[in-house]
């Protein structure tokens, strides 16, 4: 200690050296200041605490060292009162160290007065409380955190002392259970007011286990809040020990109403899905992005004749009918690529036994919030039966149409026969009946002979007509004449040979081109008859000039096998005779020996085999017959 002005005023007794030793070895910082706070003495510990040597402090103002944020507080709460001689309280503040850091000091400032009571000096004692302050700060932080957490997680703490019967609730429990914290709490109130009676027993048992066996517990149960709401909480309990004895239970209570609700909703929706999934009559499958089955229901397995487990190791490609592997593949790819979310299509699967199962598939993508595909849910509907029924229906319809057409044709045939009977048969019969009467009334032999002649002619005529009709009926009634594969060329050349004389005589040019379709399965007799009639017709109704050219050709058109015969002959006025050209005993040209039978027979032959004959003609230009030898079968859709 050095001699300083004013220092001599302090009266030291003989133990002055002892005090010096005490002060200079003190772990606390002890300083002497003038009333304005200027350091007059600083003990050596200052160097340990701040890095400054005591002599560096002398004459300096403490405010130079006090953290700017703390200065005003120190002045008001400590320095000013001390200067006025009032007692002060210990202050905590930051004090600058030589290395620039701050150290937390707790300082008590005391005024030193002279005999007159005037404050002549200030004495301070300081301690480094940095650790404490930091501890307090972190404690406060912890407290803040736990309070926030408690609030956010709706968790509160509780403690129940067995021996004293005292129950403690943290503020969060008061909040959870909606009770005014100022009312406090006791065990009876908890049981009577806040416990849900049905869950009370469970809680008691758990608490008892803690007391008796020292076990901890965690239990979910219901509570009733101050406003009467029923809430779900999770209560955890742990034994509290004192001297090795269990003296109570403490733990936490968390409001889990919300998560319970969510949990319940999830459980319900999972149950719904599961029920829909497993009890659906339709097949339902979950597919991964590679088309492997993640899950499938009984209906789907049954549809394909498998046990569900057998299919889990397969992919949908494995059960797809090979020809249909590409059906829906594009849609599947688009779902995986995220271009679309659903697809519908029909395709064939293969049953375990090998037969085809027609299905209608509705696939929907299930994605994460990020858009990533989790799986594809597909509903599979077995439409095999529907398909079969549809096909049957389609076939029946086609049959009906065919029968309808057939009936129409039959009706027109009947009308045709009616006409034949009316015109071609009734007429000679009428003649006969009249002639018979004439014969009876004949007066001379000459008359009688004459009538007999007429009778003979008429009856011959009738017989011929009858034979012709019988012939046509035969054709009509046995359409199943034996068909065989015939080369057009071979039949045609035979027919042509029959007319060789005429062809040469008329210098007719016969052109036959069967190269587009050289053969047909057809009754040979009919084909021969068709060629014969058409060639004979063309030759018969040739024009005088130029010389006759008759073309025959065969080809296919829209599934119909067609024979075309074209000549440059007289032609027929179709406006006049169009509806009669194929009728019995119709003739359109004078000076020819036609009996009007050929085309009638030809038409009947063609139609009896399901074919059709059409004619195009211009008088003076020629005639073209277009014959559909076979018509496209309407069953072959």
């Amino acid at each position: 200690m050095e001699e300083r002005p004013g220092q001599e005023k302090i009266k030291l007794d003989q133990n002055q050296d002892l005090y010096r030793v005490l002060i200079e070895t003190s772990r606390e910082l002890i300083c002497l200041h003038d009333p304005e706070g200027i350091y007059l003495y600083v003990n050596p510990i200052i160097e340990t605490l701040t890095g400054f040597k005591p002599e560096e402090m002398l004459g300096r103002n403490p405010y130079d060292f006090i953290h700017p944020d703390d200065r005003e507080r120190i002045l008001i709460d400590s320095h000013n009162p001390a200067k006025e001689g009032k007692p002060t309280v210990a202050m905590q503040y930051r004090f600058l160290k030589k290395d620039g850091d701050y150290v937390w000091f707790q300082t008590l400032t005391q005024p030193i007065k002279n005999k007159e009571g005037k404050v002549t000096h200030l004495n301070t004692t300081s301690r480094d409380v940095t650790d404490q302050v930091q501890l307090t700060e972190s404690l406060q932080q912890e407290k803040k955190f736990s309070s926030i957490m408690a609030e956010l997680a709706k968790v509160g703490a509780w403690e129940s002392n067995l021996e004293t019967g005292i129950l403690y609730w943290s503020s969060e429990i008061y909040k959870i259970l909606e009770r005014d914290p100022s009312l406090g709490i006791d065990r009876d109130t908890v049981y009577q007011k806040y416990s849900y009676s049905e869950d009370l027993e469970k809680l008691r048992e758990n608490n008892l286990r803690v007391y008796q066996k020292g076990e901890t517990y965690s239990v979910e149960h219901r509570m009733v809040t101050g406003t009467g709401r029923v809430i779900w909480v999770r209560t955890q309990g742990k034994p509290a020990y004192s001297d090795g004895r269990i003296v109570g239970v403490y733990g936490a209570m968390q409001d889990i109403t919300l998560s319970k609700l969510v949990e319940e909703e999830i459980r319900l929706s999972e149950k719904k899905f599961s029920e829909a999934f497993h009890s659906s009559g339709n097949g339902i499958i979950l597919l991964d992005r590679n088309g492997h089955f993640l899950e499938l229901n009984q209906s789907f397995a049954k549809m394909l004749g498998y046990e569900p487990d057998e299919l889990l190791f397969k992919s949908f490609q494995d059960v797809t009918y090979p020809e249909d592997l590409n059906v829906g593949a594009e849609a599947f790819r688009k779902i995986i690529d995220g271009e679309r979310d659903s697809a519908q299509f029909a395709k064939r699967y293969l049953h375990k036994k090998g037969h085809i199962v027609w299905v209608f598939i509705t696939g929907v993508a299930v994605r994460k919030d990020s858009g990533e595909l989790m799986f594809i849910v597909s509903q599979i509907q077995d439409i095999s039966r529907k398909r079969i029924l549809e096909n049957i229906l389609r076939e029946k319809n086609a049959r009906l149409r065919s029968v309808g057409n057939h009936l129409k044709e039959r009706i027109s045939q009947l009308e045709e026969f009616n006409q034949i009977v009316s015109h071609n048969m009734r007429s000679p019969i009428g003649n006969i009946s009249t002639l018979v009467k004439f014969l009876e009334e004949a007066e001379t032999e000459k008359e009688r002979v004459e009538y007999m002649e007429y009778l003979k002619t008429t009856s011959d005529q009738l017989l011929t007509t009858l034979n012709e009709i019988v012939e046509v009926i035969k054709i009509r009634q046995s359409p199943k004449v034996v068909s065989e594969e015939i080369q057009f060329e071979s039949v045609f050349s035979r027919v042509k040979a029959m007319f060789l004389g005429q062809i040469l005589e008329y210098e007719a040019e016969i052109i036959a081109d069967f190269s587009e379709s050289p053969s047909i399965v057809y009754p040979q007799v009919y084909l021969e008859s068709i060629f014969l009639n058409l060639l004979s017709n063309s030759l018969k109704y040739r024009s005088e000039s130029p010389h006759p050219v008759i073309r025959f050709r065969t080809y296919w058109s829209h599934g119909n096998h067609i024979l075309e015969v074209q000549d440059n002959g007289l032609g027929i006025d179709l406006n006049k005779h169009g509806d009669q050209i194929f009728k019995l005993h119709k003739r359109f040209h004078r000076n020819t020996d036609g009996r009007g039978l050929g085309l009638f027979m030809t038409k009947n032959q063609i139609e009896s085999l399901g074919g059709e004959i059409q004619v195009e003609s211009t008088p003076g230009q020629g005639t073209k017959f277009i014959i559909h030898l076979s018509k496209a079968n309407e069953f072959a859709i």
Binding site: S422, H423, R426, S427, P428, N431, T434, Y454, R587, R590
Partner: protein, 136 residues
């Protein structure tokens, strides 16, 4: 038979030679006929009528017309006839004479105003008489 009635001129259009023979004889028996012309199809009859359209003495009083004939049948005859009927100096009564009992033929004939009636073959003497003496 009304012997006082005037003699009629007739045209028979029919291709059935036997029927024509029978008809000729039956018509003769009615005694009401002055002349009878026969054409085996419509075309001949049309040409004849056209040729004599302005000669009422030659135009017949009656035309018996068959339906079913080659080249130009009864219906075609009527179509053609309708084209110049107004030019005729005299209007013959036309009877369809056919063996057809087909309803469609009967109906069709009834729809043509030019046709007086439809007679089904065979035609009896009485029928011819009634027609020719306008006693129908």
């Amino acid at each position: 038979m009304n012997s006082l009635s005037k003699k009629q001129k007739l045209i028979l259009v029919d291709d059935d030679a036997i029927f024509v023979e029978i008809a000729k004889r039956t018509i003769e028996k009615t005694g009401a006929v002055e002349s009878l012309k026969v054409f085996p199809d419509g075309e001949g009859a049309i040409s004849f009528l056209k040729e004599h359209q302005s000669e009422p003495d030659i135009i017949p009083d009656f035309i018996f017309l068959d339906i079913n004939m080659p080249f130009m049948d009864g219906w075609q005859f009527l179509d053609e006839y309708a084209n110049f009927v107004n030019a005729l100096s005299k209007k013959p009564e036309i009877y369809m004479v056919s063996s057809s009992v087909d309803d469609s033929d009967l109906r069709r004939a009834k729809e043509i105003p030019l046709v007086k009636d439809y007679i089904v073959k065979p035609v009896s003497l009485d029928s011819f008489k009634k027609i020719l003496t306008n006693q129908l």
